[in-house]
């Protein structure tokens, strides 16, 4: 599953990286490491970007730029 497919409020976990783009690597350095659980806390009025919450911080990303991250819904 990709982050763009999640809905607002969904919780998910990082299961792998299929494309190590700058954006994906940077998110990893910012704490979205393998196995990290996160929640989708906002989706912008026009459908993108989305806000993710993990490790007590909230980051806004474009779903297209984080398509290199594989996720799995939890809970």
């Amino acid at each position: 599953m990709k982050i763009g497919e999640l809905r607002c409020g969904d919780k998910a976990q990082v299961t792998g990286y299929c494309d190590r783009s700058d954006c994906v690597m940077r998110l990893c350095e910012m704490g979205l490491t393998l196995g990290t659980e996160f929640q989708v806390t906002k989706i912008a009025p026009l459908g993108d970007p989305v806000e993710l919450c993990f490790r007590c911080q909230k980051l806004v990303v474009r779903s297209a730029e984080v398509s290199g991250i594989d996720v799995e819904k939890v809970g």
Binding site: M25, R26, M30, L46, Q57, L59
Partner: protein, 655 residues
């Protein structure tokens, strides 16, 4: 310019130790920097790039220390020019001491970068910010445990209240006197392998849970965001706020700008009589220098107002929400949500708009935004629209179409900007596209001290760099318009005036006639005549060509140059002006302007880069002459092609 090396030389030739403030973006580095050093900041560029190096001297007892505010980093792996520069400032030109600024409310991520800095084993102390925010949210932090885990001194600071600054300065002093390397963290000493992000986060997560206790409480920020980023209310509030920003620029700045104009007018009047004896010097001082300085200072009110608002919106946390709301709208063509405010501001004036583009950390979208900002129709274009619409659209098609024409003129630039950005992104801008990752910070009251400092710093930088270029160019343009002025020319023009028919003399005053002849004979006027064939395909005569040429330094002058060229004097009455352009003819009696050519002329003014202050600002903001040259060429060529195209269409349809 200061080079980012350690130990710059002080006045007495003694090496001054360098203290670098480093840490994640938004960790509170700049607030701490401002609190430590006051307003004694020095802004320079790092060699060869546009990244600003902000530094200041700090006096500790008898010792002088240079404090550098290094751009924020998330990791030592740089992915942009800015980050590369920051990385080099940290690693290649080692400072004598790092002050690592860590945000207590986001300790896990802040400690990730710290763990990489610790690997460098340089003298380091840690300043913990946002402890007050953590406590307000119901959390506590065990600073002793943190100090133990990090192995370096840890000092809590609340920069805007001045709390902890004395202790921080003491620690800086003692660390400079007796430097101790920072021990590596998260691994056994001597381990050669670089840690993976997973391993570093495992360590930082452990440190966080050992030092911070939190009671989860519903935060004000979440409640505010439920409204401010809401699908409907969020967008409505955004539009309302932007309307206020625009009004502030467009209308509030007006009286102050009039005041500045009035003051410089009075100054010119006061100086003028004392130079009566040497007309060229009088004209140089009054029209060239005082006029030139005035035309730079005139932009200050808008720059100050805009940066006050931007700093306040940024400090409150709203700016990031605005970017969040607008990203989809602007992102598809290669800009991003942060471009909204620069582009909106450019509708009042491109100069504050271009300077506002610095809210964009991504050099590529920042440059794209700067390059299209002057296409937005600024307030200086309005008089031309009003004149030509009043003369050609309204009488023929009525006020409804006149209003539509005015709206359309404001839309032209925006519509043209889209393909320009697409082309720039595809063909011209070669730098790396930065990932769009943005934090939505907590809402808080702006730190007014930082807001004022940002505002004054921007004003100062504008006057120092762009202002200088504007004054030099003004004097140059003055010379082109004033010279050559052979002896006896004025008498000759007066005599010519005497030979005109009495009907002509009734219409045109002697003073205006002499001015008109002087412009005609000036270098600029000759260029206008010489360039007439170039503008002929657009249906413009030498008068319009000269008016266009004279407006290249600043389009504000165009109505007054047209006044002189159409024999009305430099301050024409609006109604006379309308009649004059309506009745202007080619030598063979054909009307000079029709609704079609008037539209062509308006579109030309809408697209053409006729503002050297804009070019000077672009030069300053991009730190290179390349981009102002590219901007000037593409806008002017586009404007010309559009004007020619419209005239050709009119011939086709017999308009």
């Amino acid at each position: 310019m200061a080079s980012p090396t350690s130990a710059t030389l002080g006045e007495a030739g003694v090496a001054v130790p360098v203290v670098a403030l480093i840490g994640n973006p938004n960790a509170g580095k700049t607030s701490l920097f401002n609190a430590l050093t006051g307003s004694q900041q020095k802004v320079a560029n790092y060699p060869g790039v546009t990244v600003e190096r902000v530094s200041a001297r700090l006096q500790i007892g008898s010792q002088s220390v240079e404090v550098v505010d290094v751009p924020g980093l998330y990791s030592i792996r740089a992915i942009s020019v800015d980050e590369e520069v920051a990385y080099q400032a940290i690693v290649d030109h080692p400072s004598d001491l790092f002050v690592y600024v860590a945000d207590a409310t986001n300790l896990e991520r802040n400690l990730f970068f710290f763990s990489q800095i610790a690997d460098l084993q340089r003298p380091t102390i840690v300043a913990v910010t946002m402890v007050d925010a953590l406590q307000r949210a119901g959390g506590t932090i065990d600073l002793e445990a943190l100090e133990e885990a990090l192995g370096v001194p840890v000092i809590p600071v609340v920069a805007h209240k001045g709390q902890g600054l004395d202790r921080l300065v003491e620690e800086i002093e003692s660390a400079l006197r007796d430097p101790k390397p920072c021990p590596p963290v998260g691994r056994s000493p001597g381990s050669p392998v670089d840690l993976t992000p997973e391993e570093r986060y495992k360590w930082s997560s452990e440190v966080r849970s050992a030092t911070i206790t939190e009671r989860p409480s519903p935060s004000t920020t979440d409640r505010l965001d439920a409204v401010l980023t809401h699908r409907v209310f969020g967008l409505a509030i955004f539009v309302g706020l932007m309307y206020l920003v625009f009004q502030a620029l467009y209308t509030f700045a007006g009286p102050v700008m009039d005041g500045i104009e009035w003051t410089f007018g009075k100054l010119a009047d006061a100086v003028s009589p004392s130079l009566e004896g040497t007309p060229w010097l009088q004209s140089l001082v009054v029209d060239g220098i005082i006029g030139g300085v005035g035309s730079a200072v005139i932009f200050l009110p808008q720059i100050l107002i805009l940066f006050f608002l931007i700093a306040a919106l940024e400090g409150s946390g709203y700016l990031a929400r605005a970017a969040f709301l607008m990203d989809r709208l602007l992102g598809w063509c290669g800009l991003n949500g942060r471009a909204f405010i620069p582009l909106l501001s450019s509708y009042a004036c491109a100069i504050p708009g271009i300077m506002a583009a610095r809210v964009m950390p991504d050099a590529r979208s920042r440059l794209a935004t700067i390059m299209v900002a002057p296409l937005m129709s600024c307030s200086a274009r309005l008089p031309v629209y009003i004149l030509l619409i009043g003369a050609f659209i309204e009488p023929k098609y009525g006020p409804g179409w006149a209003g539509f024409a005015l709206f359309a003129m404001h839309l032209v630039g925006l519509v043209v900007a889209i393909p320009v950005v697409l082309i720039l992104n595809k063909r011209v801008l070669k730098m790396k596209r930065l990932p769009f990752i943005m934090e939505l910070p907590r809402y808080q009251w702006p730190k007014w001290r930082d807001v004022w400092l940002t505002m004054f710093l921007r004003g100062k930088v504008f006057l120092q760099t762009a202002g200088t270029i504007i004054v030099v160019m003004s004097v140059l343009m003055w010379a082109l318009l004033y010279f050559p002025r052979p002896a006896g020319a004025e008498e000759r023009y007066t005599a010519e005036y005497g030979r005109q028919t009495s009907d002509f003399r009734e219409r045109v005053s002697e003073e205006t006639y002499v001015q008109q002849r002087q412009i005609e004979e000036s270098y600029l006027g000759r260029m206008g005549k010489g360039i007439e064939p170039v503008f002929a395909p657009a249906g413009f005569d030498w008068r319009l060509s000269t008016a266009i040429l004279s407006a290249f330094p600043a389009r504000e002058v165009v109505v007054s140059s047209m006044g002189i060229l159409f024999s009305l004097g430099a301050e024409p009455d609006e109604r006379d002006m309308v009649t004059a352009v309506q009745n202007a003819t080619w030598p063979d009696g054909r009307p000079l302007l029709t609704p079609w050519t008037a539209t062509g002329l308006m579109v030309f003014f809408a697209l053409c880069c006729q503002c050297m202050s804009t070019l000077a600002t672009v030069r300053r903001e991009t730190n290179s002459w390349k981009w102002p040259v590219v901007m000037f060429l593409y806008m002017t060529i586009l404007a010309y092609l559009a004007a020619v195209g419209i005239y050709r269409l009119s011939l086709l349809f017999g308009g």
